[in-house]
């Protein structure tokens, strides 16, 4: 039963992740008075990219460059084995939140390495910014996890989802909502792949199927972040859960995409300053958690 549920979950995320990007593109288009692409557009893009041959740049460190997108993609799929999405059954699987975060970060790092391996100056800058933001983001995330762990007395996914609502958890969750926004690289935090400035950053030299996997990995990461967020608050069992889950995802997409459409990009320094403030908030939630509220 668990394996079937797992398969359903994986298929669901594989299908939904590009669709989610399609929904967000549509939302942004509507807010700009445009008709916008059909919500299946991202799927078509990926299918097309998969059929195109990859070209590696001459100077690239081939093994790392070629492997990076696949590693990122695989790491995120593995994370989805641990994190329940549509069906909650995979919850009984072994593993804990730390592992999920590690898998997610290794995906990010894989793309960063891929960017460095491409030897393109834009990719370097993009990768570099990614690392910059990633490091500060990590600090805040660590405090969120610690807070949750203290309150729930465990780090296993089984115990964590859904979390008990306490003051500290509430603060941590609010911080987490912001972190999800930042970690999914949306404007104004899409600095690592700012199109008008450094042309998709680390992904600049990728083409064809490798680009498809890299992009897919990014969409999966966004979905993973949303799933984590929803898991913290949605009920764990029952028929309502898949239903609520399916309804909540597009709603989150709409909210996040609307914010994205009406923001200007930050400079890296500004983004980092903001992240530091969030870290302080999460630290406070940790202190409150220790105090037992």
């Amino acid at each position: 039963m668990t394996w079937v549920a797992l398969a359903v979950n994986i298929l669901f995320v594989l299908f939904y992740a590009p669709l989610m990007d399609g929904i967000e593109r549509q939302v942004r288009a509507r807010l700009q008075c445009r008709k916008g692409p059909p919500i299946t557009q991202t799927w078509w893009d990926i299918l097309k990219l998969l059929r195109r041959p990859p070209v590696a740049p001459e100077k690239a460190v081939r093994p790392i460059f070629n492997l990076a997108p696949l590693v990122a993609f695989a790491a995120l799929l593995t994370a989805f084995i641990l994190v329940p999405t549509l069906l909650p059954h995979s919850i009984t699987f072994w593993g804990d939140l730390i592992l999920v975060i590690y898998l997610m970060n290794s995906a990010t790092l894989a793309l960063v390495f891929g960017g460095f391996a491409s030897q393109n100056p834009y990719a370097h800058i993009g990768a570099d910014r990614e690392v910059n933001i990633f490091l500060v983001e990590e600090l805040a995330l660590a405090f969120v996890i610690v807070t949750l762990a203290i309150v729930n007395g465990s780090l296993t996914i089984e115990k964590l989802f859904p979390v008990q609502l306490k003051l500290s958890v509430a603060i941590a969750l609010i911080a987490f909502v912001v972190l999800v926004y930042i970690a999914s690289a949306r404007i104004p935090f899409d600095i690592p792949e700012a199109e008008p400035e450094i042309v998709e950053g680390a992904l600049i030299e990728y083409s064809g199927s490798q680009l498809a996997f890299a992009k897919y990995a990014i969409y999966l990461k966004r979905l993973l972040l949303f799933s984590l967020l929803l898991n913290f608050v949605l009920p764990r069992n029952g028929v309502v859960r898949p239903l609520l889950f399916v309804i909540a995802l597009p709603i989150l997409s709409i909210i996040y995409a609307s914010i994205e459409a009406y923001c200007g990009r930050y400079r890296v320094t500004e983004a980092i300053r903001l992240l530091k403030r969030i870290s302080i908030v999460t630290m406070i939630s940790w202190v409150i958690a220790i105090a037992g509220w």
Binding site: Q32, R34, N132, A194, E197, I198, C263, G264, R267, V268
Partner: protein, 540 residues
């Protein structure tokens, strides 16, 4: 006052009318005269080297100075028989490019020029071939010579990245080299002129007087119409023609429509560069209506192609006029509404406040023009200072902001959008009846003409010497970006690299306008956007 100065340096008046004065001076008197003129409020407007052997003279350099105070363009001619002339760049920095251009295109030498390097032609252009000399055919294509490797040695104290020339932010090929100390820009150099298309030679070679307006319009696809007007004004000035009144009003209407579309486009691009794509979409949505108006009035969305030396090729009929007036009223409301909301986005506005400051003195020395000058507190506008077409009969304000930062440039342009709406309404409703074209005219040969218009980016100055058989002997357009670009390094200095792209974009650079003549050959070049911060890390 001008006459007194000119007399002091022994200048001989060759030709004069109410708007411009042509004089000739001895080459020894040139530099002191230029210095004196600069002190008394003139700025450097244009510099043209001419191969006058076809007119029975030697080579000559025409320096054009302009003054808002005297409402005058002053053309100073110096002749040379041995290709050597004194450089006036040490006293007026604004003439730097003009002199280098003449070096490149004609082989003139300027003694005392601070950086006598090739500016115009491509890297693979052979030495000693000067396209603007009369013996060179316009369609000659010299062999490609080996490209020299970049001469500047790799510096260790600055980070250099070969970014560009195809940078997605600007959709035009160009290069900037930005020298960084930590996160702060210490210096910047421009290299571009990728779009040198040999236009001046083409005008002398293949085209006739009445074909050049179409060429002039293609100097720039955004602000081309104002170039074709400036050219026709220059020829009209040389021949002493006067357009019919109605043609003048139609000219004003189309120029203002062009300004509207150009400014809306720029505001949109700025929002795009700030990552605020919705702002871009809203501005361009409004602009689309302006394009519709242009299409209805001229038959094309851009490159209106409506002007000939004798006037306008199309009239505006009554029903269309009313439709345009109605559409403009709606557009004005829409623009005001959307802009009010966007200006209400505080963090967006704060992002561009206080960056890229250009002080007034530097702006004057470089001869900076248009909205960039007006944002630095220089009260200049060709439409008011040297009125052309029907501008002297219309009422408009010239917005001036003293801050000199990017925000000021945005505000100047926004105010100009609103003024353009007002001008359009006036011009459309006050347009007199009558002809729009004079057909019966003769153009004398060997006459000097000067035409100046206020393009969306600043003052366009076109210099014309008429030739025989309805040809131009020499035509030299000067686009505003040509004067504005050298100010970018000053704006960049001391700023965070993150702001570099928005600062560069703030002059509304129009590289194709400038590239009709030149090519900078300097150092390793960089255009680095806000990637700048990243640059710092990479270099560490």
């Amino acid at each position: 006052m001008v006459d007194k100065i000119l007399a002091e340096y022994g200048a001989v008046v060759l030709d004069r009318n109410a708007k411009r004065l042509v004089v000739q001076v001895d080459d020894k008197q040139l530099r002191p005269l230029a210095e004196k003129l600069f002190e008394s409020g003139f700025y450097y407007a244009n510099g043209v080297g001419v191969d006058e052997r076809g007119l029975g003279h030697d080579f000559a350099m025409y320096h054009v100075f302009a003054s808002e105070k005297d409402k005058l363009y002053l053309v100073v001619k110096v002749s040379t028989s041995n290709l050597k002339l004194p450089s006036i760049t040490p006293v007026i920095p604004g003439s730097n490019w003009a002199e280098r251009e003449a070096m490149d295109m004609l082989g003139l030498e300027f003694e005392g020029h601070p950086e006598p390097e090739r500016l115009i032609l491509p890297d693979d252009w052979p030495k000693g071939v000067y396209p603007l000399r009369k013996e060179f055919d316009y369609n000659e294509r010299p062999e490609f010579v080996e490209r020299k490797p970049e001469s500047t040695p790799q510096r260790t104290d600055v980070v250099q990245l070969p970014l560009g020339p195809y940078h997605p932010a600007l959709h035009e090929p160009e290069y900037f080299e930005i020298h960084v100390d930590g996160e702060v820009i210490t210096d910047a150099k421009y290299r571009g002129f990728h779009i040198h298309r040999g236009m001046e030679k083409l005008a002398e070679g293949r085209l006739t007087l009445n074909q050049v307006p179409f060429l002039a319009e293609r100097i720039c696809g955004i602000c081309g119409f104002t170039h074709s007007i400036a050219y026709c004004q220059a020829v009209a000035d040389a021949a002493g023609l006067d357009w019919p009144e109605r043609a003048k009003y139609i000219g004003v209407i189309l120029l203002e429509i062009e300004r509207l579309h150009s400014h809306l486009l720029w505001v949109g691009v700025v929002f795009h560069l700030l990552g605020f794509d919705s702002g871009f979409m809203h501005m361009w949505r409004i602009r689309e209506k302006v394009m519709d108006i242009a299409e209805a009035l001229t038959g094309n969305r851009k490159t209106y192609g409506l002007v000939l030396i004798g006037g306008m090729r199309r009239d505006i009929d009554e029903s269309r006029k009313n439709w345009v007036l109605k559409t403009l009223t709606e557009l004005r409301e829409e623009t005001e509404r959307v802009s009010k909301d966007i200006f209400g986005m505080k963090e967006l506005i704060n992002r561009i406040k206080g960056i890229g400051v250009l002080p007034k003195e530097d702006a004057r020395a470089l001869g900076v023009l248009g909205p960039v000058a007006r944002a630095s507190g220089i009260d200049t506008d060709v439409r008011r200072d040297h009125p052309y077409l029907a501008y002297d009969k219309l009422d408009f304000k010239v917005p001036v902001y003293p801050e000199g930062d990017v925000l000021a440039r945005l505000l100047v342009r926004y105010d100009e959008i609103i003024e353009s709406f007002r001008l359009l309404e006036q011009a459309l409703s006050e347009m007199p009846q009558g002809d729009v074209m004079i057909e019966d005219y003769t153009i004398p040969s060997g006459r000097v003409g000067l035409g100046a218009t206020e393009a969306p980016r600043g003052e366009d100055v076109h210099f014309v010497i008429t030739g025989v058989e309805s040809k131009v002997y020499r035509w030299h357009p000067r686009a505003p970006t040509y004067n504005n670009l050298p100010s970018v390094p000053i704006m960049l200095r001391g700023n965070n690299i993150a702001d570099a792209p928005i600062i560069i974009a703030s002059i509304d650079p129009c590289f194709s306008c400038t590239d009709h003549v030149a090519i900078v050959r300097k150092g390793k070049v960089i255009w680095k956007g806000p990637l700048g911060e990243g640059v710092k890390q990479v270099g560490r």
